[in-house]
Amino acid sequence: MEYIYAALLLNSAGKEISEENVTAVLSAAGIEVNDSRVKALVAALDGVNIEEAISKAAVAPVAAAPVAA
């Protein structure tokens, strides 16, 4: 999860989710960084609209109710 939190951090700071930036954040937290996971994450998030995904998370559970109804 650390990798995702790092990405969220960068996103909310308006920074690019690049390998360098993710690595920097994780290292600052004292985490031993796995390069290939960083690469995989950056590649996977390329094209993902994080703002949209996040706004769904805030709304989702509430929205779930009517669906269930």
């Binding site: 999860m1 990798y3 995702i4 939190y5 990405a7 969220l8 996971r37 995989a40 994450l41 590649a43 996977a44 998030l45 390329d46 094209g47 993902v48 994080i50 995904a53 996040i54 769904k56 998370a57 805030a58 989702a60 559970p61």
Partner: protein
């Protein structure tokens, strides 16, 4: 007007006097339609109305005489007389009288040519009949009768006449055999005189469900107003507090105000956001770790 009465024989004059006396002694003078009500049912209805309302059957001409002599508004009742009108007297208001008459309606067998007041349903199950021509008679009118274990049974529940349809002779006979009584029988209020006004059924029929719904609605409106305008009442104070607390929590979470009381909510939100993004990443091929899966 009195001149009119003087031409009547004594017994008729007595009858007219009796009608006038009853009218003066009661708040409400009403006309009810007795058409098609068997004597036995009339007896039952009188019984049900005992102590509340009195029904007086007499000739229309005598009712007219009495009304004419009384004059004023009550004379307007004459316009509502029909072939089989009877008088009804009560001290309840006409709305209650109407309701009472509705409640004292009883069920009766249908006669050929009558219209079904509601769907007529034959329930599934055993009957008291032994096998015989009855099975054919029932089947003929579409009632799913069958012989089972030496008895006549109705195989399934079926609507045999729809509301508003005419009940034909064979159907009427079949329903009588099955003891199904679809007809509502009771006194139908044609008009009522009360406190200088004539009330007709269209005014008197009360939709209680509508009133109930309106009471619920009014209570909801009062509740909403009290809470939304923050006017505390004993009934709403807790809800108002809850609303204020929720507002504070929402603001705290939305703006990430790090206060202990809402720390769990903020954590929860961040966690959900992380999960959502993790999910999006995994859809694009990122392999999730243990905790996220």
């Amino acid at each position: 007007m009195a001149v009119y009465t003087m031409h009547l024989p004594q017994w008729k004059r007595n009858e007219v006097a009796e009608i006038k006396r009853c009218s003066e002694e009661h708040e409400v003078v009403g006309l009810v339609d007795m058409y098609g009500i068997p004597a036995s049912q009339v007896q039952q209805i009188r019984q049900n109305l005992r102590g509340v309302a009195t029904v007086k059957m007499t000739r229309n001409t005598l009712i007219e005489h009495a009304m004419t002599e009384m004059g004023d508004k009550v004379e307007d009742l004459k316009g509502h007389l029909s072939g089989q009108s009877a008088l009804i007297f009560t001290n309840e208001n006409p709305f209650k009288l109407y309701k009472l008459l509705e409640q004292t309606k009883t069920k009766m067998a249908a006669k050929p040519g009558e219209t079904a007041p509601e769907d007529i349903i034959v329930p599934k199950g055993p009957t008291s009949f032994k096998p015989g021509p009855i099975v054919g008679e029932l089947q003929q009118v579409g009632i799913p009768a069958a012989i089972e274990g030496g008895k006549v049974k109705i195989r399934e529940t079926k609507t045999v006449v729809k509301k508003g349809e005419v009940i034909n002779k064979k159907m009427a006979e079949a329903l009588v055999k099955l003891s199904i009584k679809p007809m509502d029988v009771g006194l139908i209020l044609q008009a009522a005189y009360y406190k200088e006004s004539i009330f007709t059924p269209d005014l008197l029929a009360i939709d209680e469900e509508q009133y109930y719904n309106n009471v619920v609605l009014a209570a909801q409106q009062a509740f909403n107003l009290s809470v939304n305008a923050a006017i505390p009442t004993p009934v709403t104070i807790s809800t108002i507090i809850s609303k204020a607390v929720r507002e504070a929590r929402s603001l705290g979470v939305e703006a990430s105000i790090y206060e202990k009381d809402i720390a769990d909510l903020i954590i929860g939100r961040a966690f959900r956001e992380m999960l959502t993004v993790a999910l999006a990443a995994s859809e694009s091929g990122y392999e999730l770790d243990e905790a996220t899966r």
